[in-house]
Subunit: 250 residues, 2 copies
Amino acid sequence: MGTTQLDTVQEPKYWHLKTVLSDALDSEFAVGEILPNERDLAARFGVARATLRQALEQLELEGRLQRRRGVGTTVAPPRMGVPVDRSGHSWPGAPGDAWQPADAAAVDGGSVPPAVAEPLGVDAGDTVHVVRRTRVDNGQPVAAELLYVPAESVPGLATAAATGPVARARAVLQELQRLDLDGEERAVELGSARAEDAKQLDRLPGAPVLVVTTRYVTGGRTTAVSVSTYRADTCRLTFGDRDDVAVLTG
Amino acid sequence: MGTTQLDTVQEPKYWHLKTVLSDALDSEFAVGEILPNERDLAARFGVARATLRQALEQLELEGRLQRRRGVGTTVAPPRMGVPVDRSGHSWPGAPGDAWQPADAAAVDGGSVPPAVAEPLGVDAGDTVHVVRRTRVDNGQPVAAELLYVPAESVPGLATAAATGPVARARAVLQELQRLDLDGEERAVELGSARAEDAKQLDRLPGAPVLVVTTRYVTGGRTTAVSVSTYRADTCRLTFGDRDDVAVLTG
DNA sequence: TAGTGGTCTAGACCACTCA
DNA sequence: GAGTGGTCTAGACCACTAC
């Protein structure tokens, strides 16, 4: 807005800008509304476009804005709560889970990421089934997943029976249901979207994501590992021990 | 390294740079080692410093690098696993939890963030105790927390008894232990460090953080809410239902 | 084709750390 | 005081979207 000459305390311009914009978003804009373009905004605030962009990037990181190339910058809706654990442990693919199987492939144990191969105890020469799944909430893609299942864990799998990619994925998931599940162990960390994930999530490569790594434990052994990649800008991951979630914000 | 003229496919320079640097980190550098400074690196790769910095920022976001003004850029150790839930539910401040109480204050219900006030059901005029705690793992500050406890939840609290700030914090925590805890409900989302948190976490304002919001439920009502802010660059939050965590990576 | 955000440059100065 | 990363500028061109 006007001139702010209390720069006696050194506060980066982009930080101050972010605060001003954040307040403006609360008071003067509605969800979905399009902001002025970056060149105009920069001129209005008397800063270089790069500086303005630094402020916008922060606000996008916090889920306040959504930017789309060729379109513009819009005010983002509040983050959606995405339930990550289910009350009572269950295997992926159990009835009612939120994921859609996409395809499956059998790969060599040497080609899976070390962070996955290690807990599974697989090496080069072993076979690992990799199931791809996606998750759509509120009509929007929110997550992509790779589920790693050593062939050893599903000895009854009839590999030849399935014809299409989705059928192959379902076959692996169905075999998992036969096993007892003793427990799950999860880790959440910040990452950036690989090119492949970015495409599925409708974001640019490098976009911030929340990576959830889950170990599925049966009889003291890790029988499967999943790596789920959630859009960090639109998702708030929820972990509840009660069924009636759907609380807090909208 | 050398010239890479397979730019037939349009891939941003910073993205390619990031890949090259990431590989170099794996093969040519040890944890803690100092990289060449940004001006030298940019010259070496034949790009502007801003472009080089874009790649470094990504790698820092992924926890691969650590940058400190006036010092340099170093290779970061693998993220540490930080247990967020405890086996068996328990109140904050229960014996053995990883947090250090810092201080406590009684504030008006109108001045707590809406995302906290709403589930607690507090309004302006109500009194809410705010306990500040910090968490240090491996000699490094990893998280800062604000715990909101409505005065209504701890009617037995003797406010005048405590003398120092830490004692006041402990007094609130001790009162909590008297209540039954039916369940906890958590949410994890990406945020950026407020100036205050940044100082405690030894980071610059705006640094990416994982914000864990926990609702403590007693008899169907939310009796306390905590907002914990973890350094996203150094932490991997773990949620396990088994005691013997301490697995995966180092 | 016009307009948007995304990438990139070649500078400059500042805040901080440390010898 | 020398060297580091952090901020900022004023441009330019590119990739994408929508009309």
